[in-house]
Symmetry: C2
Subunit: 220 residues, 2 copies
Amino acid sequence: MIRVLVADDQSMVRAGFRMLLSGEPDIEVVAEASNGLAAVEKAARFGPTVVLMDIRMPDLDGLEATRRILAADRTARILILTTFDLDEYVYEALRAGASGFVLKDDPPEQLLAAVRTVAGGDALLSPAVTKRVIERFTRIPRRAPPRALDELTERELEVFRLIARGLSNAEIARQLYISDTTVKTHITHILQKLQLRDRVQAVVLAHESGLFDGDRRPAG
Amino acid sequence: MIRVLVADDQSMVRAGFRMLLSGEPDIEVVAEASNGLAAVEKAARFGPTVVLMDIRMPDLDGLEATRRILAADRTARILILTTFDLDEYVYEALRAGASGFVLKDDPPEQLLAAVRTVAGGDALLSPAVTKRVIERFTRIPRRAPPRALDELTERELEVFRLIARGLSNAEIARQLYISDTTVKTHITHILQKLQLRDRVQAVVLAHESGLFDGDRRPAG
DNA sequence: CATCGCCTCCTACGTGAGTAGGAGCGGCGA
DNA sequence: TCGCCGCTCCTACTCACGTAGGAGGCGATG
């Protein structure tokens, strides 16, 4: 019998998994947790074979919860759940000791297969995730994770700051006295270097990395 | 003779204005300043007829510099320069006592005309700015400035938070178990209510308004 | 001198985002 | 009961964004 702990802050998601898993004769959901701390505590209490672990959770995120659970019990198998297929999570999660990585919207059979696979002691990545990992390794042979702002040139950083203020390409072009296409070129380079999908993620990164503290808008 | 002080942190812009203005027989650039404090100081020293004032400047922003210059000399005329035609600036600037408001990429003749107009004691807004002001007053008869997050419904706020994390419409749809088109509908409403152009500005607003402090990314 | 990195600009293309306008549904207050 | 509001979904359309791939100039470095 595979004993499962479901840790996710959305009750909807927990209910969905309970529903899905309870239909299986060899699987049993022994507990649920709505945050990271609770997950650690219930893992210790119920000793599940597999923990379905969301990354984004209050109190303690899924990665840290993973580390703590494994520190207490090396036999536990953690299967990371996420909606986001952003690359860093994969590496972070695997470094934390997770056995697998699946997307919440993978098809049900695939999710069930994933649970059984990691329960059996094997590791597994969802196909969508695997694809990204392969892409990444073929694109960037073996260098360290980028995401460093200092990889950007002066000009790129300048463009980056304007993006982060919410300006459009046309506005940036006017501001810097360069053409629209040049702006696009810079942005393409910025996104590649920082491993971001689009300018929206660039804005998020800029603000999260504290690039704008003490530089708030002039008209408050 | 119209005596002009050019205050802008970009030397490129200052040079451009000096070039433009020096070609006019009735206009003379008497000084330049690259930050707000210098602008205040040089305005006191040179007593210019008109100050071309950028809003975004180090040390002291253009709005506060405007207040201080006018506090010292009620006859000074301040013409605000900006690349951004975001509404609040207009009101802030006019409240600060500015005589006009022009965009840096308005055509040269228009900029010259603006300098002469405010020198003559009249007020003036660049056409592009005027357009926005009128739109604003016709669309929202007399109510208080929007830009209030509490105008958003529960669901809209939920979508707003996900936008602010950098998610695409498809990802938001999956996350909330609704369709792509519904997400678009919510976003259209959000942008209207908050007077924003696109999701990029929404991200900026979200982070600037401190909505995300203490809620940083899970994988740090 | 040659190469390399940076900045600039270009075309062409696919697609995600946002608008416009309409529709149906359930709840809730008048 | 009627209407309003919030939430959902739809089509059709436009356009900004980002990618791909190429090109030239310029300054520094080897």
